[in-house]
Subunit: 133 residues, 2 copies
């Protein structure tokens, strides 16, 4: 499916496998670490593969404001849309995903009202997780 003019290679394969397993957001560092325990992958290859997958809309980039990028697979499976957003704990840094169809509905409705043609949206809630309260 990604034979949209791109070959496969060790780094890309490994990245795809990782995203198939891991559902939520990962930083490039985490990705490099996980991959290197199996077969070492150069940092540059991680970034290049991430860029490619992102441009093909197979992964989503998330930025919670700590200066590092995070990526997770795009949840665009036909039928049930597993699109989700994130809760970030300011104390321990835990990042968890959540879905809310009401929120999606409001954003979708909103999208028609500002002259922009909206293609993506991102919602981040910050606070304190149950364990850190």
């Amino acid at each position: 499916m990604r034979r949209a003019g791109h070959n496969r290679g060790a780094a890309r394969d490994a990245l795809i496998d990782l995203f198939a397993i891991e559902g939520c957001a990962l930083t490039p560092q985490e990705i490099e670490g996980r991959l290197s325990s199996d077969r070492p992958v150069a940092r540059a290859s991680v970034y290049r593969a991430l860029e490619l997958l992102h441009s093909l809309r197979l992964i989503t980039r998330i930025d919670v404001g700590d200066g590092v990028a995070r990526y997770e697979r795009a949840h665009l499976d036909e039928g049930h849309d597993h699109h989700h957003h994130h809760l970030l704990c300011g104390a321990c840094g835990e990042l968890v995903g959540f879905e809310d169809e009401h929120l999606e509905a409001v954003i979708h409705e909103l999208s028609g009202r500002h002259g922009f043609r909206i293609s993506e949206h991102e919602v981040t809630l910050r606070g304190t997780c149950p364990s850190c309260r």
Copy 2:
């Protein structure tokens, strides 16, 4: 009002003045540029003042995913809450703010349902602005 144990200085004064004028998100680079046309302010002082104001909750940090931080004054005035979110044009990079009380209501309602105590939230819509269509 920010005599919460902090003195004033040229850099902080200038930053506060700037945020009083400029309502929407600015990057540290933009801030340094604007301030330097008046009285030069060192980059380090910009970052330090931003950190301070942010820790005092007087400004908000926004990250739209392009690798640079943005800050704008916190719209927490009593009475009318001018809290807003952002539309980002992927083509020209323009960033504009919008308010939507319906969206706020949904997020507020949502906040009680995940065990987290939510203190902030951030919504970014990405797409194409009218001029870039």
